[in-house]
Every structure is written in structure tokens, then in C-alpha cells.
């Protein structure tokens, strides 16, 4: 039990630190790599939640495909670092307008979340204590292809549309 709590805090720390680094790094390549690190932390959390299939799929799809796509675009465009002079003048966390809006939003969100959580029952027991975890891959497949069949087919159309759209949008002009 204590070991599981330790693992939870370790993975949560990796995820939060990775996310913070994404938001505060100047070099976009470092941002992408920090996000990959955050995804590894999230994957560990999914394993703790007894969802190993989702954990591995997270690595394959997010860290292995989407982030490689981001990295390719960053490298192909030779993305300039954010304006160095402006960065040195005022780090994004110190810019007045953004800080005001951001601070107000963050405060509102934190207050709302705290209010919602304090009024919810059943939040202090261990996650899913009495109920067994139904997470075998066969079970996932069965429910995906029976209950969620329509969503599955619509998602496949969405992917084809996105693929065609991305190819058309990123093509070089022929003139």
C-alpha cells in the first residue's frame, strides 16, 4: 500500500514537472521532449490504475507517434526560439496581462475544483476498492466492438479526413 502511494507520487511528480517544463522552456525541442517525459509519467499512472493496455497505447500513440510528428515539424521549420530579447526582458510568467488573466483563471479553477471536491462523497477510499478491475484486453475489445461500434466507425472516418486534410494543407504550392 505504501509502496503504491510512493509510486503514485513519483509518477505524479514526473508528470507535473514535465508539464511545467513544457510551458516554461524557451527551446521548442526541449518542450517536446519534456512532454514525452510527462507522458511516461502518465503511462505509469495508468499502470497503477490497472489499465496496462491504455498505458502502452499511450506510449505508442502519444509519445511514439504524435510527439515524433511535433519533433519533425519543429526540425523542418527550424523553429526559432521565442524572441530572445523579449524573453530576457520579461519571462512569460511575469508579463502583466497574461499573469493577470492567468492568475484569475487559475484561482477560479482552483476554487471551483476545491468546492466540487469538498462536496463529493466517496472520494477518500482507495480507488475502486470493492470493485474488481475489468481490464483484460479481450474485455476491452468486446465492449469496443459492441457498445461503442458507432463511435469506432466515426473515428475511422475522422482519421481518414484528418490524413487527407493534413496532406493537402502541407503540400507545396505548384506555382
Amino acid at each position: 500500500m505504501a509502496f503504491e502511494a510512493l509510486l503514485f507520487y513519483a509518477f505524479a511528480a514526473v508528470t507535473v514537472i514535465g508539464a511545467l517544463l513544457v510551458v516554461s522552456q524557451r527551446n521548442p525541442v526541449y518542450s517536446v521532449l519534456s512532454l514525452v517525459g510527462a507522458f511516461f509519467g502518465l503511462s505509469g499512472l495508468y499502470v497503477l490504475l490497472e489499465a496496462p493496455f491504455v498505458a502502452v497505447v499511450q506510449i505508442i500513440i502519444y509519445a511514439g507517434a504524435i510527439m515524433v510528428l511535433f519533433l519533425f515539424v519543429v526540425m523542418l521549420l527550424n523553429v526559432p526560439r521565442e524572441d530572445a530579447a523579449e524573453w530576457d526582458r520579461s519571462h512569460p510568467l511575469y508579463r502583466p496581462a497574461a499573469v493577470r488573466i492567468g492568475a484569475v483563471l487559475a484561482l477560479l479553477m482552483a476554487l471551483e475544483l476545491g468546492w466540487a471536491l469538498s462536496r463529493t462523497t466517496g472520494l477518500t477510499a482507495v480507488v475502486g476498492e470493492g470493485r474488481p478491475a475489468a481490464s483484460s484486453v479481450a474485455e476491452l475489445g468486446r465492449i469496443l466492438f459492441t457498445t461503442y461500434m458507432f463511435q469506432f466507425e466515426v473515428t475511422s472516418i475522422l482519421i481518414i479526413v484528418a490524413m487527407v486534410g493534413a496532406v493537402v494543407l502541407a503540400r507545396k504550392r505548384e506555382d
Binding site: 503504491e4 502511494a5 503514485f8 507535473v16 508539464a19 513544457v22 510551458v23 521548442p28 518542450s31 517536446v32 512532454l35 507522458f39 502518465l42 499512472l45 495508468y46 497503477l48 490504475l49 489499465a51 493496455f53 491504455v54 500513440i61 502519444y62 504524435i66 511535433f70 515539424v73 521549420l77 523553429v79 526559432p80 521565442e82 512569460p92 508579463r95 488573466i101 492567468g102 483563471l105 487559475a106 479553477m109 475544483l113 471536491l117 466517496g122 472520494l123 477510499a125 482507495v126 480507488v127 475502486g128 470493485r131 474488481p132 478491475a133 475489468a134 476491452l140 465492449i143 469496443l144 463511435q151 475522422l158 482519421i159 484528418a162 490524413m163 486534410g165 493534413a166 494543407l169 502541407a170
Partner: protein
């Protein structure tokens, strides 16, 4: 002793970090990365709730969210490439010609 509240607080924290990134960063690619952080925060909440109630529905919805995120990242990056070719800059403040 990790409870559902722990996972929800973590999910909210990640969502807030992602939202803050969308507002504060002046680089289109980092903006898209912050959106990805937000989507992952939501995934975590889904899987945590799925485990709490002992069903696999949480994980299945996670697959759909991941798929939509992949499609959105692909199209978003294609748009970023097009925008970069047009303006040679990735600062969202360079694309303000429609502002009144």
C-alpha cells in the same frame, strides 16, 4: 493510500498547467503542446473514474480522445506549416491582420 481525489486533483493541476500554457506562450507549436497536456489531463480523469466504478468504459473513451488528439495534432501542425510558409513567423501575434 491513493484515492480518487488524488487522481482528480492531479488531473485538474495538469489541466490548469495546460491552460496556462495556452495563454502565456507566444509560439504556435508550444500552444499545440499545451492543448495536448489538457487532453491528457482529461484522459487521466476518465481512466481514474473507470477504475473507480470497475468498468472499462473509461479506457474506451480514452482511446477515442487519443485518436481525436492525434487527428487534431496532425491537422493543426499542417496548418502551422502553412502559416509559417506565409509569414515566416510562429508568433501568434504576427497573424493579426483581421483585427479591427
Amino acid at each position: 493510500m491513493v484515492s480518487l481525489g488524488h487522481y482528480l486533483v492531479l488531473s485538474g493541476l495538469l489541466f490548469a498547467i495546460g491552460a496556462a500554457g495556452v495563454f502565456m506562450r507566444k509560439n504556435l507549436i508550444t500552444l499545440l503542446l499545451s492543448v495536448e497536456i489538457m487532453l491528457n489531463a482529461v484522459n487521466l480523469a476518465f481512466v481514474a473514474f473507470g477504475r473507480e466504478f470497475g468498468t472499462v468504459d473509461g479506457q474506451i473513451i480514452t482511446f477515442f480522445v487519443m485518436t481525436v488528439a492525434a487527428a487534431e495534432a496532425a491537422v493543426g501542425l499542417a496548418l502551422v506549416i502553412g502559416l509559417f510558409r506565409h509569414r515566416e513567423s510562429l508568433n501568434p501575434e504576427a497573424f493579426t491582420s483581421l483585427k479591427w
